[in-house]
Symmetry: C2
Subunit: 294 residues, 2 copies
């Protein structure tokens, strides 16, 4: 019997990523007609850091004219797209006074989390953010609460925090609910009055639930997405608890040996993984599963 | 002796307005090359309400492809520029979930005032906003403080406000410092602990100072700007205290009879008045002042 491929129910682009790519493409495509501008005066369009955490899609956008820039202070007379993960508050304020056209592609759910952190900080709460310290979303979140924020990524991070007083717990939008709940439980033991703000986005929850369900019956899972993508990383972690899991960015990384004798191979993709990469992975996998074992 | 024209030192476009027009033109002109889009798929670019309060400049931008829309809820797959005066917080949040590319042209100084109001509201302050109740900037400012905000436009507005408790006073960015100080003084008599946040922008202050100075020595003043422009309106008010003042939107409105026998005619223009209109006014005025009296 040949193996078959099953794709997880909720997989690939989420609302915020789809929106950001629409915004980026629209920014490149808008107008132009009758603009009468010469090639030399064509305005450059930049994204502040990668727009989304998918190198291949970022490369595709770069070919369309959206250049990734890390240091925006040197830009002048340019259009700058703000990434899905948001940017630090102080930087945003600074950019407003630069000669730039800002196009905000921050995910609206990330924006909501930022608003909550800002509100909590102004209310003098101690804010615990469950998330990856070095992830741009978390860096931006922290900027809205300043020194009232404490990031918790692993258990040892809890040691350095004084949990007395008024404490509120929020989450990076792409954390797994299990991880968040676990930290909430520990913190509530230290301070039973700690308030919880579940800022995990629905898309993250849905992708994780579908992937977990599928991984329980699959003989192997392929998780497709950027290696720098937090939410994709977590999909792979979750699935690896239940079955052999391979985390790839593109079809090129797939090896036929991985799937020898596998009956059901599950596929899921992160919120920032474009459909065209998932289709390429699927096609290559189909080839492997049809092949008679060599 | 023929009359001569003196232009006020600080006059016309301010930073925020210049920035907004740059942003609007850049949005229309960006990219286009190699976009390969057909005419029918050309994206429309809108501004939410007039980008600035100058009908002639708004019309010029409209010809370039920026359409003014009052109700953005019907828009889909469009680029929407947010006006210099800012927009209400709730509306901004709603627009983020619509299929739109948002380009924020809110004046950075207005944004700062919004941030102050938001901070004060979260700190449970009672917020007194000195400004025009129906002006879009004030409407947006109020949205950041909700029912903690009270707008004071005229003395009678003070009657309905309970000034007990923690009170903070902020200003529409284009108010005259005199008017703001006057209200601050009255409110501080009612509540000496009231805090003051002078959110009047420097450009407003500079334009008013220069116009006042000039009006004291001019035989007549011509103030050029949109009839819907708050800051231009206030320039005209200030000058009319010292000399005969004419408030025009365009050169067409000027009448030669106004300037018969005048030796010094002063000109100033609001922060939203483009240079091309001021130049037209000046040219027509020069004609009047050269003419021998009929």
């Amino acid at each position: 019997m040949k193996g078959r491929i099953v794709t997880a129910k909720n997989s690939g682009f989420c609302f915020g990523v789809k929106r950001a790519i629409d915004i980026a493409e629209n920014t490149v495509n808008s107008a132009g007609k009758n603009s009468g501008r010469k090639r030399s005066t064509k305005r450059l369009i930049y994204s502040l850091g990668p727009l989304i955490h998918n190198p291949q899609e970022v490369k595709r956008l770069e070919k369309k004219g959206i250049k990734v820039v890390e240091n925006p202070s040197v830009l002048k007379n340019a259009t700058l797209i703000l990434r899905t993960h948001g940017i630090p508050q102080g930087l945003k304020e600074k950019l407003r006074f630069q000669n730039l056209t800002l196009v905000d592609a921050t995910c609206p759910f990330v924006k909501k989390a930022q608003d909550i952190v800002q509100k909590l900080a102004l209310g003098n709460e101690k804010i615990i953010i469950v998330g990856e310290r070095k992830h741009p979303e978390v860096k931006a979140l922290v900027s809205y609460g300043g020194d009232r924020c404490f990031v918790v990524e692993k258990d040892s991070d809890l040691r350095d925090i004084d949990f007395s007083g008024s404490v509120a717990i929020v989450s990076q939008t792409t954390q797994s609910p299990e991880n968040f709940s676990r930290f909430v439980k520990i913190i509530k033991e230290l301070n039973p009055k700690a308030k919880t703000f579940d800022t995990i986005c629905r898309a993250t929850f849905d992708r994780q639930t579908s992937a977990r369900k599928l991984s329980k019956r699959a003989d192997a899972m392929v998780i497709v997405g950027g290696k720098n993508s937090g939410n994709t990383k977590r999909l792979a972690q979750i699935c690896s608890e239940f079955t052999k899991t391979y985390y790839v960015e593109t079809a090129k990384e797939l090896k036929s040996a991985w799937f020898k004798g596998k009956k059901i191979v599950g596929i899921s993709a992160g919120a920032s993984t474009p459909g065209w990469i998932v289709r390429e992975v699927k096609k290559k996998l189909e080839g492997f599963l049809k092949e008679p074992p060599r």
